[in-house]
Amino acid sequence: MASITVGISDLKLANPPDTLITYALGSCVGICLLDPITRVGGLSHIMLPSSAAVTGDLNVMKFADTAIPDLIKKMERKGASRTRLKAKIAGGAQMFGAGQTGGTASNDMWQIGQRNVQAVTAILQKIGIPIIAKDVLSNYGRTVLFDPATGIMTVKSLNKNVKEL
């Protein structure tokens, strides 16, 4: 079995016994999708909510609105059915300016994590994929492991208990 690493602005697929991992999500969001019948799993690590304002070359894996459809299409090619897909999501933290250090957090750029989570939730809802588990927002980084054999998303953070969702 292999542990397949998903980079930042990246997405990958895996079948059991292989697993997927993405490291140190901060304000980015990790989206785990699974077809429980064919056991085709996918993990996408997005940085930004929308590609709408981007001109020129576009990395579709960077944006929630382009990465999620791309991941679904690739999973369908491997035998997954869109109607059976279930989602688990993690990330979207506010790493700086969350008030714990007394700085000036007036700029809405600090809240990019929250906007990423909102975008991912809205896109999945529109496509009709239920979010069955999530560990999002707050102010700490997360490493996410996804095992298509069990459908379990494991979230690891510094100085916190490991969560299995």
């Binding site: 140190a24 901060g26 980015c28 510094l158």
Partner: protein
């Protein structure tokens, strides 16, 4: 129009290195005053790195890292982020607060303020060198501090400037006090138009 980090040539890099050298000199002076002991900084290593190389330089994306982040406004639109490893942070805290500082768990509000102040002083030293060499008016925001995985800390400025290009200007400094040698890393994020303005003010375009 603007210049992305990807477009920089050797001449540009030489100029940016010179800014780094002058900034490091300023930073050493400020730190010596703050800590009440002589601090030397070796010539800093200035490189253009992609995201993965930056996290590798910190010991991997999950490495516990102290991050200090400031916004640059005025004639420049950018951000400065300091990534300090545990050794660096502990040396600073012990020198500043005069007590042994054992672990991350003991990090209290006062220690966070001290880290923020160190970040502020180091950033000011660099921003001053950029400002003086270019004649540009640059304002620094109040620094924000966070302690977490290196990769997670970097996500915020990368998101803001990630749409611009996937490489960053990475300045690695080695500080030498009487008894110890520690490293800090600074990353300068700038919008392409700001980078191009800085370089043209320095006489190259």
């Amino acid at each position: 129009m603007g210049i992305r980090y990807e477009d920089l040539n050797d001449m540009h890099m030489d100029v940016l290195r010179e800014i780094g050298n002058i900034g490091a000199g300023n930073a050493a002076t400020s730190l010596s005053v703050m800590l009440g002991q002589p601090i030397d900084i070796a010539l800093p290593k200035v490189q253009l790195l992609d995201f993965n190389s930056v996290t590798d330089a910190m010991g991997g994306p999950e490495t516990l890292t102290y991050g200090v982040l400031l916004s640059l406004t005025g004639e420049i639109d950018g951000m400065v982020m300091f990534l300090l490893n545990k050794d660096f942070a502990h040396l600073m805290l012990n020198a500043l607060m005069g007590e042994a500082f054992a672990s991350f768990d003991e990090m209290d509000e006062m220690a966070l303020s001290a880290i923020r102040e160190v970040g502020n002083i180091l950033s000011a030293a660099y921003v001053k060198s950029i400002s003086e060499l270019t004649g540009l008016d640059i304002h620094m925001s109040v620094p924000e501090v966070s302690i977490d995985m290196a990769g997670a800390l970097l996500s915020m400025p990368l998101i803001k400037f990630g749409a611009v290009g996937d490489r960053v200007l990475f300045i690695e400094e080695n500080f030498q006090s009487v008894s110890e040698s520690v490293a800090s890393n600074m990353i300068l994020f700038a919008e392409p138009t700001s980078l191009s303005l800085m370089l043209s003010k320095l006489g190259i375009s």
